[in-house]
Symmetry: D2
Subunit: 284 residues, 4 copies
């Protein structure tokens, strides 16, 4: 059995030990430990990736670790990849419906071996898309689109989500959320080539630099890292000189980005790649 345990809490006093100790006592080999600390934000996080040579009892493990978490005031999660078949997806959206639609279609058509548990928006725009595919939609945004991030995590937990897809979700996930679902569970679609074109306006930036190729990138999110080593898939399309930005964006947003997201998700679901030590590695 392979398990990813994440723990998030307000400080790092005596927090790593009980979890690590419990895992080793329970016969686990520890393959990876990462810690993260932002004193000023009172955020402490740990990820442990552990493996058992024989099958272990995931329900007992999860119950034990949850108990440790509640005793220590930590938010603890135990993820066992492959425990649920098919894996369960949450799709986060803002305005653009095309990437979410592409994933929902690919799941319906069997091209993506997964189940979409829910669509979550900080804007209500994609409600209709979700309903068209019979998937519940949750609006976590206030009047100005500011998301309720605690509600977001509650929804992911309630729906027993394996992977979170940020499908042109235009808000930054707080580090605390990322660490709760750390270990290669959050995939982001960036509408530009990374690393050269980060930021909120990659089409505009590439156009200002006179590029004739426009890209999109699917990557795992790891707080503070620049996405280079976390890239799962990226591709571009080419336009002739003089193509108006409006036409470039239309093609990118309605055709290119949805295809790139779908292929990136497929690579993860089909087990071709995984996140290890903050890097995407091919699985052989």
């Amino acid at each position: 059995m392979h398990a990813v345990v994440t723990a998030v809490g307000p400080d790092n006093r005596g927090l790593a030990d009980p979890i690590i100790h419990h895992l080793t006592s329970a016969g686990a080999n520890l393959h990876e430990i990462q810690m993260y600390d932002r004193d000023q934000e009172h955020l402490f996080a740990m990820l442990v990736r552990a493996e058992w040579e024989d099958d272990a009892d995931s329900a007992t493990l999860r119950a034990d670790l949850d108990r440790i978490g509640s005793e220590r005031g930590l938010s603890v999660r135990t993820w066992v990849p492959g425990e649920r078949t098919p894996p369960r997806l949450a799709i986060c959206t803002t305005y653009r419906p095309e990437p979410a639609t592409a994933v929902l279609r690919a799941v319906r058509d069997g091209r993506l071996k997964a189940e979409v548990s829910c669509v979550i928006g900080n804007r209500p725009t994609c409600r209709g898309v979700a309903e068209e595919f019979g998937v519940p939609f949750f609006d976590i945004g206030d009047d100005r689109g500011a998301p309720d991030n605690e509600r977001l995590v509650d929804l992911l937990d309630e729906h027993a989500v394996d992977y979170v897809l940020l499908a042109r979700y235009m808000r930054v996930l707080p580090a605390a959320v990322c660490w709760k679902y750390a270990g290669g569970r959050i995939l982001n679609l960036h509408h530009g080539l990374l690393p050269p074109f980060p930021g909120f306006r990659p089409y505009e930036d590439a156009h200002a630099r006179h590029m004739l190729t426009y890209g999109a990138t699917v990557h795992f999110i790891v707080p503070e890292l620049d996405a280079g080593e976390q890239i799962v898939h990226q591709a571009t399309f080419t336009v002739p000189p003089g193509t108006p930005l409006k036409e470039i964006k239309r093609r990118g947003e309605t055709e290119h980005e949805p295809a790139v997201l779908t292929e990136g998700v497929r690579r993860v679901l089909d087990g071709e790649v995984a996140l290890r030590f903050h890097r995407v590695v091919p699985v052989t």
Copy 2:
């Protein structure tokens, strides 16, 4: 008639006037004048793009301007696009034969409407390729590959070349050479995406930044400018995570770059784009 006149000399005392004066006296409308000066290198250059409403006599014009050049100690060239049909190409090479081969094939097969006048190398490597297509090859490099740039210009002049293709030619053309053939006559194949990946090792640089797309760019060369606005064509190919650099380079060098160069040259030969005011503009 449309003519591009270039003049290159050691200083700028009284040099612009006679050429400009002659052109306006000869009934030309001056569409574009650009000057360039590097005092420290004793290099002065001027480009004038002129148009006549009626047909003008290009031979007389060229003779007159050559005479002014020789009186003033200037290297003057008068290029009349379309004067020679089909247009004549020179291909500059170093080691890699694939891009040159792709252009020679496309010319032979009629996909590029041009004639290859000569292949020029600073290394003898591509001699065989040129001979295979019955095109003369000239080696302008010394033992260490340092090119004789005066010989390069002489060859271009002798062969009445319209366009110069730098097909993985790994030396920097001096500004004096670029200005002698200014006005959208020198096309370079860069083996990376511009502007994000300039330099001599774009595959290595993109790989170090963990890109999954690798590009090539065809652009006009204008000294001191960064190629952004001079891009004629660019495209990428995509690899899965973990693809070895060696495999990426093999694919890029043997398949991708040749195709990108051929398409870039085609756009210029077919008159889809032109260089105006140091920028590529679509021709409608």
Copy 3:
């Protein structure tokens, strides 16, 4: 005599010839000609830098060229550096008063050999500063700060301004305005190091990249160029790790930027540097 002639108009049909012809007929050596064209914006611009070996009559020259301009529908300006002593400055502002104040003080104290003709704002914020120094203030902004650029040029013309200082003026000057005052007459204070930190938020961008040095740059403005070769002065200050962004900005905005602007302007006024062929060159 040394003169810079600029001409701006809606197209380039037959416009360069009369001006160039007049200058050569009037005994000028043409040192530099640059043209700029944006068809889509109906903007054509030309700069000619000319020199006469003997003293020439600037008033007659200006009158003749103005007449050509009005016949041809061109906006023509003839600038003779050194004609007015001391040279006359316009300072453009938005909100921050410190850089303008620093220049006004340096002029008052004789550290800058110039006269401030006017302060111009797209916001009224710096009116008090101007009045404190007895300099007229003009507000060219509408309710949202959008500047009336024709009024801006009229003010510069009426006040016979030699140099325009953009002193944390937060609007982009249209290319037409830049070309009307081309030839090294518009100096911009950028509140970050160029080229690494362009954009509107250079403090934030440098802080996000964990820099411990924060810079400011004074450069001539040439449309479409990235300011690298046009840099007149730049400097940085250093902070210890952990310094809050707020403290960095305070120090940069109230102490560092004003000093950098003043030194940049001094270099130009004292004739240490000049803009030639779009590049800053030291004057020996």
Copy 4:
């Protein structure tokens, strides 16, 4: 007591557990755990930062951990900051003597509260400098300057070095070496501003971009990270336009870099900053 334990070995099977288990059994609070893995290079590394509320016995701890290391085939080090007073430095050099000389002088004059245990070079150039200050010099390079990195680590161990200063040491430290001395013990002097000017030729690169400020940066080395968050000190000097590159390099190399290195080392020795979770944080 505060201890940093590093363990480096060929794989990650069962390696984290015994060390972590021993530390927690010995009453430590685990403040930070980081792991690093490069399967392809057979390199596994772990850093544990631990604290004891009361004084603990560092000699026993070190002996116990060394024993675990030797049982498991791991290279284990236990560093207790402050254990040796004053702290002991190793200075690594290649050709340029100025930065090393500056540190040796500052130590001699009491401006740096440390002792220089040894100077190590991959070239013999700085032997004279070391001898002048009565410090042993070790040449670890072969004929072409390729360093013997195992010898480097042996020397650091034998001399009980607390901090390693890369004083224009022009070789890349392998990740294995960095992890053996991880936890904020290796300081590098980079002769350019980071992050904008990385690479081996930062003066040339900044000059090519027409900068008028030239910087140097002192940072902790953490493999795979880009040094942004690890910067301890950086500063620049300013030159007027037209300053030759040669003069810029002379000033940078002989005056600026030595001063920047000395100040960076001082900040670390005086306890003003520390490396925590791969980031430099101010110590209050």
